[in-house]
C-alpha cells in the first residue's frame, strides 16, 4: 500500500470533523473519496497533505508510520494536492510556478532560467498539456491553473496526487482533459485520490471508492462491486427518492426581457425572455458568454448595446445595487470570492443582502429575528453547521455554497440569475436546491439557470437556451437530449485554456 490511514480523528474546537477516517490507496490506483457536504473529505485530505494535524489515528506511508507538521513535510515524501483555490503565484510564468521553491540555482543564487524553461517545456510536451511554459499564470483559466498544479506535482516526483473536486469549475472538454491526465498518472503507477460530487464521472476515472459519512468511513470497495444507488445510500445514510423531475407549470407574465445585449467580444446580440414561474436553462461551454450575460444583467459589467425590461418596464442597471433595487438577484459562480464573508458568522452572511428584513425602524438590527431567519434557511438548505453564529469560513466547501444561495433566498427577488447553482453540492442537497428553485418559480419568480451539468438542466429547466462564443445559438424544449444541446454548443469547440482578454 502507498498510503494507509486508520481511525483518523480530527476536531475543530467543538466540531468533530472526523471520527474514524480509514483509507488505503495502492500505487497505480485512482481512489474516489465520496460523501455529503461536510462529511470530512477535505479535512481528511488536508491531514494527508500536512495542512491539518490529526487528533488521533495512524498514517502509514509506504508502510512507514509518518506524521506531518506542515505541508512541506508531505510534499517532501511525495504527496501533492491540487487545490480548489489556486495556490499559484499569478504574476509568474507557468515554468516559474512549476519550479517555485525548487529553482535550479547557479553560482550566487542566480536562477538558471533557460534550463528551467526547457525542463518545463519537455514536461508539458511529454504529457501533451495545452499549456506554454512562458505563459503568465494570471492569464490562465481555472482549468489551466489546475494543469500547472498537476505539472508541479509531477515535476517534484510525487507518488500520490490528491484532487479535491477538480472538475467542478471545468468545461466538458477540460474535464475530459483531466480524465486523460489522471489515466496517464495511473499508468505511471502513481496513486490518485479524487474527490467529486459528480456521480456521472465516477466510472470514467475510478478504480476503488471510499465513502465517508459524518466523519466516518462507512464503506470501501472496488468500483465494479457497487452500483451508484448503493453509493448514494451509503453517502446519505437513507434511501433517496427517484430522480428529481420538475413538473412544469403554466408560465405567467413576462418578467425579464433581454434584447440585443452586446458587450464585445464576449456578448453579441443576446436576446431572450423569461416569464414568471419559468425556469429557463442556459447551456454552453465555459467561456460561451453565459456568466457574462448574468454579469451584464446584474450591472457588474456595462453592456454596449441592448435593452432590458423587467415586468414590462425598460430598466438600466449600472451596478449590483441598482439590480437589487429592480428585483434582480445573482447567485454568482465564484461563490467563495464574491459571495462569502468568511470571517463573519453565517447569520451575518445570510442577512447582508436584505438587512431591512431584520431591522427595526429601518436601522436597528433585531438579532433574535436574524438568528431565527438564519436557522430557518440553514434547515431549509440543510446547511451543516453548529449554529448561525459559527463563522462561515469554518464550513465545508459545499455548505459555504449553500450559504451564498440562501443569502439571495432571504433577500427575495422577481428575477433570479443562478450561475452554476449546484456546483460543489452533494447529491442530496442538489435536490434541495432544485426544490427551492421550483418553490421560487411557483411563487411567481422568473429564473435563469446557467449550468454546465446537462442532466440537471434536463431535469429542472422548462426551456434551454444554448450559447456559443457570445451568441445564443438556439433554444430547445426542456425535454430535449444532451446530444441536441452539445450540437448547438460545440459547432466549434474552442476549449481554450487561455481566457479571452477583453479588447
Amino acid at each position: 500500500m502507498l498510503l494507509q490511514l486508520t481511525a483518523i480523528q480530527k476536531r475543530f474546537g467543538g466540531v468533530v470533523a472526523l471520527k474514524n477516517g480509514n483509507l488505503a490507496v495502492a500505487p497505480g490506483e485512482v481512489h474516489l473519496l465520496l460523501g455529503e457536504n461536510g462529511a470530512g473529505k477535505s479535512t481528511l485530505m488536508k491531514i494527508v497533505a500536512g495542512m491539518h494535524q490529526p487528533d488521533g489515528g495512524e498514517m502509514l506511508w509506504k508502510g512507514q508510520k509518518v506524521s506531518f507538521s506542515k505541508p512541506a513535510d508531505a510534499s517532501a515524501v511525495g504527496i501533492a494536492m491540487v487545490h480548489q483555490e489556486s495556490l499559484l503565484a499569478p504574476h509568474l510564468s507557468v515554468a516559474e510556478n512549476i519550479f517555485l521553491g525548487r529553482e535550479e540555482r547557479r553560482a550566487f543564487g542566480w536562477v538558471n532560467r533557460p534550463r528551467m524553461l526547457d525542463q518545463a517545456r519537455r514536461l508539458i510536451e511529454e504529457h501533451r498539456f495545452p499549456l506554454h511554459a512562458d505563459w503568465r499564470v494570471e492569464k490562465l483559466s481555472p482549468a489551466g491553473k489546475q494543469l500547472v498544479e498537476i505539472c508541479r506535482a509531477i515535476a517534484h516526483g510525487s507518488s500520490l496526487l490528491i484532487f479535491d473536486e477538480p472538475t467542478s469549475s471545468l468545461s466538458e472538454s477540460e474535464t475530459q482533459e483531466v480524465f486523460r491526465i489522471v489515466k496517464t498518472l495511473r499508468e505511471r503507477k502513481m496513486g490518485v485520490i479524487y474527490i467529486t460530487h459528480r456521480l456521472e464521472e465516477l466510472r470514467t476515472v475510478g478504480d476503488r471508492v471510499t465513502i465517508l459519512r459524518d466523519g466516518e468511513t462507512v464503506h470501501s470497495c472496488g468500483l465494479n462491486e457497487i452500483t451508484n444507488e448503493r453509493i448514494i445510500q451509503h453517502m446519505v445514510g437513507r434511501e433517496l427518492g427517484s430522480m428529481y423531475q420538475r413538473s412544469a407549470l403554466a408560465p405567467g407574465e413576462e418578467l425579464l426581457r433581454v434584447e440585443g445585449l452586446t458587450r464585445k467580444p464576449l456578448l453579441h446580440n443576446v436576446s431572450f425572455q423569461v416569464r414568471a414561474g419559468e425556469i429557463v436553462g442556459m447551456a454552453g461551454l465555459v467561456g460561451a458568454g453565459r456568466t457574462e450575460t448574468c454579469r451584464a444583467l446584474f450591472g457588474l459589467d456595462q453592456a454596449e448595446a441592448g435593452t432590458v425590461h423587467i415586468a414590462g418596464q425598460a430598466v438600466t442597471v449600472r451596478s449590483p445595487r441598482e439590480a437589487v433595487e429592480q428585483g434582480i438577484a445573482l447567485i454568482p459562480e465564484d461563490r467563495q470570492r464574491t459571495g462569502l464573508a468568511t470571517a463573519l458568522p453565517i447569520g451575518h452572511n445570510l442577512t447582508i443582502a436584505d438587512i431591512g428584513k431584520v431591522s427595526r425602524m429601518g436601522f436597528l438590527l433585531d438579532h433574535a429575528r436574524e438568528r431565527g431567519l438564519a436557522g430557518e434557511y440553514a434547515r431549509k438548505l440543510r446547511i451543516k453547521c453548529e449554529s448561525p453564529r459559527q463563522l462561515a469560513g469554518r464550513l465545508s466547501g459545499g455548505n459555504q455554497q449553500k450559504v451564498v444561495i440562501a443569502k439571495w433566498l432571504v433577500r427575495g427577488a422577481r428575477v433570479f440569475l443562478f450561475d452554476e447553482p449546484t456546483r460543489g453540492i452533494d447529491v442530496g442537497a442538489k435536490v434541495e436546491v432544485y426544490e427551492v428553485m421550483d418553490e421560487l418559480a411557483r411563487s411567481g419568480a422568473a429564473i435563469l439557470m446557467v449550468s454546465s451539468e446537462l442532466p440537471e438542466l434536463l431535469q429542472v429547466a422548462d426551456r434551454i437556451l444554448v450559447m456559443r462564443q457570445g451568441r445564443i445559438t438556439g433554444e430547445l424544449p426542456g425535454r430535449t437530449t444532451q446530444e441536441e444541446i452539445m450540437k448547438l454548443a460545440t459547432l466549434h469547440d474552442g476549449g481554450a485554456l487561455l481566457e479571452e482578454t477583453a479588447e
Binding site: 449590483p320 445595487r321 439590480a323 464574491t338 462569502l340 468568511t342 470571517a343 451575518h348 447582508i352
Partner: protein, 308 residues
Amino acid sequence: MIQRLLPFLTLIALFVGLSIASPDHFLSKTNLSSVVRQTAVINLMALGMTLVIISGGIDLSVGAILAMGGLMGTMAMAKGQPILVGVFLGVLTGCLCGFLNGFLTTRLKINPFIVTLGTLGILRGTTLIISNGLPVHEIPAAFSYLGEGNLVGVPFVLWVLVICAVVVHVILEHTRLGRYAFSIGSNPDAAYYAGIPVAFHTTAVYAICGMLTGLGGMIEASRLMTGQPTAGQGYELQAIAAVVIGGGSLRGGEGSVIGTLVGAFIMGLLANGSDLLGISPYLQQAIIGATIILAVSFDELRKRKMVH
C-alpha cells in the same frame, strides 16, 4: 477563549502590578484621573479608527485632523464665539476632513493608506498655513472644563468617552452601518455583489472617525488651553496600536469597541507606570512597541489554531 481574553487579562495584570509596585501613587485619585485624561484623546481617536479598520480601511491622517479640528474650534472662540459653538466647529471640521478621506478613497479608488498619507500632509500643512504656525491662546477660561473638569467626582472626559464608546458600540453591533462595515471589511467583493452601497458607507465610516477625532482635538486644546497647529503628531500610530492590541485586524472585518478601549488603556497604563517607576521615556517607547507585536502575534496564533 483564554487568548481572546488576553488583552483584558493584560490590563488587569498591569493594574494589579502597578497597584502593588506603587500603591500610594498609582491608586491615588489624582493619578487615576490623570491616566483617564491622558488616554481620553487617544481613546476617542481609536474608537473612530476601530470603525475604519473594521471596514478594511486605515486613517493615517487622524493626528492632522486633530490639530485642524482643535485649531478651528479655538480660533472661533478667540473670535468671540461661545464655547459650545467652538466645540461644534471643531467636531464639524473633523467630520469634513474624514468625509474628504472617505470621498477620495471611494471615488478615486485609491488605497486608503495612500489617500490618508496624502491628506495627513495636506491637512497638517493647511493647519500651519491658517494659523501661521502660531498657537491660539485667547480662549475663555471656562473651556478648560472639557478636558480638566469633573462631573460627579469623575473627570468630565470620562463621561464623554463612555457616551462615545456606547454610541460606537451600538453602531457596530446593532445598526445597519456597523453590519455593512464588517461586511465591507471582510469581503468587499461580496458586499458589492450583495448590492450594499459600499462607497456611501465607507465614506460614512471615515466621517465618523473624523468627528470623533475632531472632538479629541477640542479636548486636547482644552487640556493645553491652546489651539496648537502641531498637536497630535504621531497620535495616528497610537490609535492604530490601540485597535490592534484590542483584537482589530488590519485585514478588516474584525475589531470591537471593548477591545479598543482595553488596548488604549493598556498603553495608557504602560506610560503611566513607566513614569511612576521612573523608567526612561525612551525605554517606554520600546516597551509599547514590543507590546503591539506581542499582542498581535498572540492574536494571529489564536486565529491560526481556530482555522486550521
